[in-house]
Symmetry: none
Subunit: 121 residues, 4 copies
DNA sequence: GTGGTCTAGACCACC
DNA sequence: GTGGTCTAGACCACA
């Protein structure tokens, strides 16, 4: 049992935060995002950790780099973010939900009923 | 953005751990569970926090206390745990899942398909 | 002007070396490759640098990891290595070759002639 | 595997740099080039090494020496540089390119297509 | 000033 | 034992 801890790697949490900013349209394509050092100071984390998050997002083509200038939000960042989140949801979260459904003996049709109910509100 | 933090109250996290032990049948009815002091040392937490978790579970009739002896798993603990977890699941987790489904533009019938797929494995 | 220096990042040089081992069939699919620490000691480099190379290759699905055991050559490693090398060649090396061809005033048909000549040998 | 190393002799790397300066018309015929000593300090290399590069280029009639004054770019330096580079390119670089083409299973006509494509840009 | 790489050393979870 | 993450601090190239 572990307490008061978030096991997810910090660099992935940073990446998640950036995903949020993009999905909420707070950061738009072509916007310059904070420099590695500034961000690191801001969130009180080692610059290498921020760098790792940025590199991770760069590989996913969410952001791109202009040498000596900084990182910028890519053009299709919003769409790509949605796709990545969807994959994460289906591959990581849904299986847990399904496991709970089985464990707790809930019928899938009951889930559907609750979903339709929630939509009406 | 916040890091290395789990906002859920520690005593509820402890209670969750105990639910797990009961649902996994690791702790059976009439089993004596660890003393408040032992448990607190074990998980490196203040005894008061453990006591709060025990009190919480006692109120839910998951465990009961014999003065001067200790806490024991109640007879209907398994069934009650399932019900409590089911309520938690439907009230707290499902709405988030539904929110994501809508946000990511996934169809509920797709979820059902994925569920049936996962059961076949 | 720079001397006695190889600007390519060490972790990429390590990755290149691994590509070589795979292309030369010295490392076959399912082979366990050296542990991060062992390799680091062997080539006198910081373990983090080796880790970075391994992570890079893992993202490219050239190798995969089994927790607590080690890294292994992936099934399609050979084919993927060829494809990656081909991309590198076409995107990075060929443009330089073309630049030289233009700069030195060589005709592309002359290149073709030299190629056919070299094949006959 | 070897790291952080460039096997080409330093004096040849210096010569290459001078070729570059001539081909890019940065250094024109009759220009005085830096003194051996100045150049050596500038690129942090032993003066003897610079001298060797100058001697090499003098033999190729790319530069000439006026005793007590310094080294100067020869009249036909540009044309001679092109010829030397062309020979180097055809004898040293092209074979490697051809080897890669074969290894990676690329068709020579594909190369020609890519070349024409690159010229259009 | 920007990012990019590397080292050294630490601590963790999993097996 | 394995990899995985993080920190601290350094040096570099590019602009």
């Amino acid at each position: 049992m572990e307490f008061a801890k978030n096991n997810k790697a910090i660099y992935l949490q940073i990446a998640d935060g950036i995903f949020e900013n993009i999905l909420s349209k707070k950061w738009m394509p072509e916007d310059r995002i904070p420099s590695v050092r500034d961000f690191a100071v801001n969130i009180e984390v080692n610059p290498n950790t921020v760098m790792r998050a940025y590199t991770y997002l760069q590989e996913k083509e969410i952001i791109y780099n202009q040498r000596g200038i900084g990182f910028f939000v890519s053009d299709g960042a919003y769409e790509k973010s949605i796709n990545i989140r969807k994959t994460q949801f289906v591959e990581n979260e849904l299986p847990n939900v399904f496991k709970n459904i089985d464990l707790l003996g809930i019928d899938i049709t009951e889930i559907e009923r609750l979903y339709n109910l929630s939509r009406k509100r």
